[in-house]
Structures are given as structure tokens and as C-alpha cells.
């Protein structure tokens, strides 16, 4: 797929603090790119630069063929943003906020009325449309923020922590709406520190830490890139002998074996789906009865830990 956004050497400094550090990244047309990282990783600053809200200190980006420095007006026409913190004055009402946003984005009166009603209904906000924002819960405010982009249907939608403060049922509904937005032709940049959300939604994930891009690829490729990332826990009927442990170590995919209990072996390996049948065959041939077997793939948390040496929670704390 062709790139709709090309970021090159993008840097933002606030005094001595480097919020975004020489970022190079491409976003493909029609994809959902997850921008993953703890708070303070530089995700929001990157987004604000792309949306021409703040100026880069160095470097630039082209969005839909327009340079963010030279043609900011053209760039803004392509974007719709769901901000991390809902950006609204508390005396406004959801209907006014979403309707005005749609008007500014150039929707015709008929289309605007139809879409605003449709989106507010789908987000369970239609009943609350005339309430002042200060009377709404945090989750409701976030839904109003989200409604702006869903009504706008921009060429590129940036969603910063789209499901923060939204309950579990609501989260799934929002994810489906974002997928639909992608399927209707929008490109999405999803900034999040929720690993599961990034994994669920993203076609590709870019991991950022301390202003730098560490890696960018599909979630599957990223997980597969961790050597010994797959884990298989085998419980044997009897204690495992040293000989059988050695036998299992001979498989080239097996990186390490930990004897958790005398009868439980934890194998760290690659290509779990290919090697597990071979292991089972060996155990059967050697007459080693198996009670249970449990397999798990690495998560994006493992990927993050692999590249940063920190879990996302630890990175969050060190960034605060």
C-alpha cells in the first residue's frame, strides 16, 4: 500500500527536553497504525506536530502529499483528531459540540443532522445531547470527543487513547466503530498505552519510548521476532529426568528449559505450532506420559519489554 504519511527526522524539543527524537516513520493508506508507548513516550507530541497544532523543532512530514511546514492548511483538511483529554468548554452540550465540528468540517445541513444523530445514538449519547458537558461523566465526555471524528469521517483520523475511561462493553463498541471507519476508507493512527487495544486494532504497531521509534511492524511479526518468545508448559505424570530435559534441548527451536517443579517443564521456544508436535512425538517414543500441556504466545507487552528492557508499567513509572 502507498504511504499517506511520511515522517522524516521529526524532532520536538521543549527547552532541554527532547519530546520526539528524530522520528522516521511511514503510515500506509487505509491502515490502522498503533502508536504504542508509555506516557511521555512522545506519542501525543508526534500527533500534535502531524496535525500542525505545534511546530517541529527539526525535520518534517508530508501528509497526503502536503508538507506540514509548507502547507499546514491543506494538511488540516485531511485530519480529524480524538484528543486524549476531551477538548471542550464545560458549558457546551454534546449536540452543539459535535454539530459545530461537523459544520466547520464542511458537512451539508442534511448530512450533518443525519450523521450527528446516527453517531450520538450509536454511542448512547443521544439522550444526553442537551446536557452541559460538566454534567457528564469522564467516559461520556470521551464519547463526545470520539463522536466528532466519527461524524467527520476524515481521510486521516488520529485517535489518542480512544477508550480511556470507557467501560469494557463500550470499548468493544468503539473498536468496532474505528474498524468501520478504516473499512470506509480512513487511515487511522491509534495512540495508546493499552497493549491489548493496540494488538486488537492495529494492522501495524510502532513502539515509541523516550521520544524515539524503537520498531514498527505487524503485531505478529513483532511477536515472532522475539527469540524464545513462545512458551510451552508441560506437566508430566512423573518427575522429568535430566536425560529427557537434554533430549528436548536438542530441538533447535528450543531456546531454554526451566524445570518449574520436578514434573513441570517450561520451554521457551520459537515457532510453537511447528515444534510442539515434534516434542509430543519424542515424549511418546520415550514413554514419558504427559498430564497437560499449556501454550502461550508472547504479547505486545513482551515485545515492549524485549525492546526497552522494561514492562510498560515500569516504563510508565520511569517516565512520570
Amino acid at each position: 500500500m502507498p504511504s499517506i504519511i511520511q515522517i522524516s527526522n521529526l524532532t520536538k524539543k521543549f527547552g532541554n527536553i527532547v519530546a520526539v527524537d528524530h522520528l522516521d516513520l511511514e503510515v500506509e493508506d487505509g491502515e490502522i497504525l498503533g502508536l504504542l508507548g508509555p506516557n511521555g513516550a512522545g506519542k501525543t507530541t508526534t500527533i500534535l506536530m502531524l496535525a500542525t497544532v505545534i511546530r517541529p523543532t527539526e525535520g518534517t512530514a508530508t501528509v497526503g502529499g502536503f508538507d506540514i511546514r509548507k502547507n499546514p492548511e491543506k494538511v488540516r483538511e485531511l485530519f480529524g483528531i480524538v484528543f486524549q483529554e476531551p477538548k471542550m468548554l464545560w458549558v457546551s452540550t454534546p449536540w452543539d459540540i459535535v454539530n459545530w465540528h461537523a459544520k466547520v468540517c464542511g458537512l451539508s445541513t442534511e448530512e450533518r443532522k443525519r450523521r450527528v444523530k446516527e453517531v450520538l445514538e450509536s454511542l448512547d449519547m443521544w439522550e444526553h445531547r442537551r446536557k452541559n458537558v460538566h454534567a457528564l461523566s469522564g467516559g461520556m465526555r470521551k464519547r463526545v470527543e470520539l463522536a466528532k471524528v466519527l461524524v467527520q469521517r476524515p481521510k486521516i483520523a488520529i485517535v489518542d487513547e480512544p477508550t480511556a475511561q470507557i467501560d469494557v462493553v463500550g470499548k468493544h463498541r468503539v473498536w468496532n466503530m474505528l474498524r468501520r471507519l478504516r473499512d470506509e476508507g480512513s487511515t487511522l493512527i491509534l495512540a495508546t498505552n493499552e497493549l491489548y487495544e493496540a494488538d486488537e486494532l492495529s494492522d501495524r504497531v510502532a513502539i515509541m519510548h523516550r521520544g524515539k521509534l524503537l520498531v514498527c511492524d505487524t503485531p505478529k511479526t513483532l511477536k515472532d521476532s522475539i527469540v524464545g518468545g513462545d512458551i510451552v508448559e508441560i506437566q508430566l505424570e512423573n518427575d522429568a529426568s535430566a536425560k529427557i530435559v537434554e533430549e528436548l534441548k536438542n530441538f533447535k527451536e528450543v531456546v531454554n528449559i526451566l524445570q518449574v517443579k520436578p514434573c513441570i517443564l517450561r520451554l521457551y521456544l520459537n515457532k510453537v505450532e511447528e515444534v510442539v508436535p515434534k516434542i509430543m512425538n519424542t515424549l511418546v517414543k520415550k514413554n514419558v506420559p504427559v498430564t497437560s500441556i499449556h501454550m502461550s504466545e508472547p504479547s505486545l507487552d513482551d515485545v515492549f519489554a524485549h525492546y526497552t528492557g522494561l514492562t510498560i508499567e515500569e516504563a510508565q513509572k520511569s517516565g512520570e
Binding site: 500534535l48 496535525a51 500542525t52 497544532v53 505545534i54 511546530r55 492548511e73 488540516r76 483538511e77 485530519f79 483528531i81 484528543f83 483529554e85 477538548k87 471542550m88 468548554l89 458549558v91 457546551s92 452543539d96 459545530w100 459544520k103 466547520v104 468540517c105 464542511g106
Partner: protein, 260 residues
């Protein structure tokens, strides 16, 4: 043009959300006029206000201008609040040019000032006399131009001050300097006389002379009250210069400071 109108709509809608607060403020202004001006009438030397008939008639145009000033300045408080809550990120991300955004904000501040001021101006007409159509047109144009300047000034202050505390302090300084070094509360001729006698600092006399609030108040007085010297149209220049400076300041501040 469409984008500017959207911004004006946004700001006017917010203005009318505080309608009861506005009613309260206008009532307070009218109470100022009807209580303070009547009491002051008996306190002030009759020689000073003789040409205006009563202090009430002198003060009503001044109060109208201060009402316009305070209400046009309100846009700055909202923009400062937007900045503190980072709502300005949203405004800056909208599909319009920075110039359209800045002009929209200045224009809406000015229109809000005119709306707020209209009952006060009407009160002047009722108690002092009605102007001719030409005079009315001049009054409205000059006051609107001044409202735009005030709006620009408040926006420039709002985006240059990060905290509400600093904004309120700056607003207080501007209010008191411009209100009290003007002909809003006392005739310019009295200030000039005190200055000549060394009883009032010379720089403040100059400030009172070039202050657009003085020009606007004296313009309304000269149109509505008989027996006053004819209004000098050149004094409108003060208002024009004031507006031009602060409209440009607001645009510059919006474009340069917020985007940093």
C-alpha cells in the same frame, strides 16, 4: 469567510450560555448609573459639570464605554481558559487558517461587546437624547472599531499569559489604567487643568488624551448633549490606531505563541 463565521457562531453561542450572568452584569451597570451618578451629582463641584447639566448625563456615556470595554474583554478570559485546558489544541487543529481563526475570535469579541453595550447605549439615548442617523452610524462604527481593539488586546494578553492569575492581574492593570486615565469618570478638561497646575502626573494626562475610551465617551457626549463643542473627527484616529495595533497583536499572538 465561512470559517470566520463559524468561529463567531461558536463564541456567540458561548456568550449567550451565560445569559443570566449577563443580565446581572447589565443590571449592575445600570444600578451604577442610577445610584452612583445621582449621588455623585451632589458631591461634584457644579463648576466642573455645569456644561453637562448633571453628573448623570456626563457619566452615562462613560459607563456605556466601560461596559463595552469589559464585555469585549471577556473573550480573552475564555481563550485563556481554553489555553489552560488545552482546548486551543482543538481550535488549532480545525481546517482553517490561523488568520481566519484569529480574525474570528477578534470579531466575536467585538460583536459580544456591542451586544452587551446596546442596553446601556439605549439608556443614554433615552435620558440624554437621540442622535441623528449619521451620528448614530458614527457612534456604532467607532464603538465597534474600539470593541475590536479591546477584543484583540484581551486575546493578546490571554495567549501570552499561561495562568489565570497572571491574566487577571494583567486585566486589572489594563482596566484601571485605561478607566481612570480617561474621561470616563471626569472631564478631560479637568484632567488637563490639574496637569497644568502640577496636581496630576503629566504622563497620565497624555494617556487620558490619547486613550480611546476618552475619545469614544466624548464623542457620544458631543452628539447627545447640546451646547458642547462640536466633535472633532480627528480624535477617532486614537480609536483606529488602538484597534489596528491590538488586532494585529492578537493575530500575531495566536499564530506565533500558541503554535510554539
Amino acid at each position: 469567510m465561512k470559517a470566520i463565521m463559524h468561529i463567531v457562531e461558536h463564541d456567540l453561542r458561548n456568550f449567550f450560555r451565560y445569559k443570566w450572568w449577563l443580565v446581572g452584569l447589565i443590571s449592575m451597570n445600570l444600578a451604577d448609573l442610577f445610584i452612583m451618578a445621582i449621588v455623585y451629582n451632589y458631591m461634584v463641584s457644579s463648576a466642573v459639570i455645569a456644561q453637562y447639566d448633571t453628573y448623570f448625563k456626563f457619566f452615562a456615556p462613560g459607563l456605556t464605554v466601560t461596559g463595552l470595554f469589559a464585555s469585549a474583554f471577556m473573550i480573552g478570559r475564555e481563550i485563556n481558559m481554553e489555553r489552560r485546558r488545552e482546548v486551543h489544541h482543538y481550535m488549532l487543529s480545525l481546517p482553517m487558517t490561523r488568520m481566519e481563526l484569529a480574525i474570528g475570535r477578534v470579531l466575536s469579541g467585538g460583536i459580544r461587546g456591542m451586544i452587551y453595550m446596546s442596553p446601556l447605549l439605549l439608556t443614554c439615548f433615552v435620558f440624554l437624547g437621540f442622535p441623528t442617523v449619521w451620528e448614530l452610524l458614527v457612534i456604532l462604527i467607532v464603538l465597534f472599531l474600539m470593541a475590536l481593539g479591546i477584543s484583540g488586546l484581551s486575546i493578546a494578553i490571554a495567549v501570552s499569559t499561561a495562568s489565570l492569575e497572571k491574566f487577571i492581574t494583567a486585566r486589572g492593570l489594563v482596566y484601571y489604567t485605561l478607566f481612570f486615565c480617561s474621561s470616563v469618570f471626569y472631564p478631560l478638561s479637568l484632567i488637563q487643568q490639574l496637569g497644568a497646575e502640577g496636581k496630576f502626573p503629566a504622563p497620565l494626562v497624555i494617556l487620558a488624551e490619547v486613550n480611546p475610551l476618552s475619545s469614544a465617551s466624548d464623542m457620544i457626549r458631543s452628539f447627545l448633549l447640546p451646547d458642547l463643542p462640536a466633535f472633532s473627527y480627528t480624535s477617532i484616529l486614537n480609536v483606529v490606531v488602538f484597534s489596528a495595533i491590538f488586532i494585529l497583536s492578537a493575530a500575531f499572538a495566536y499564530i506565533k505563541i500558541l503554535e510554539r
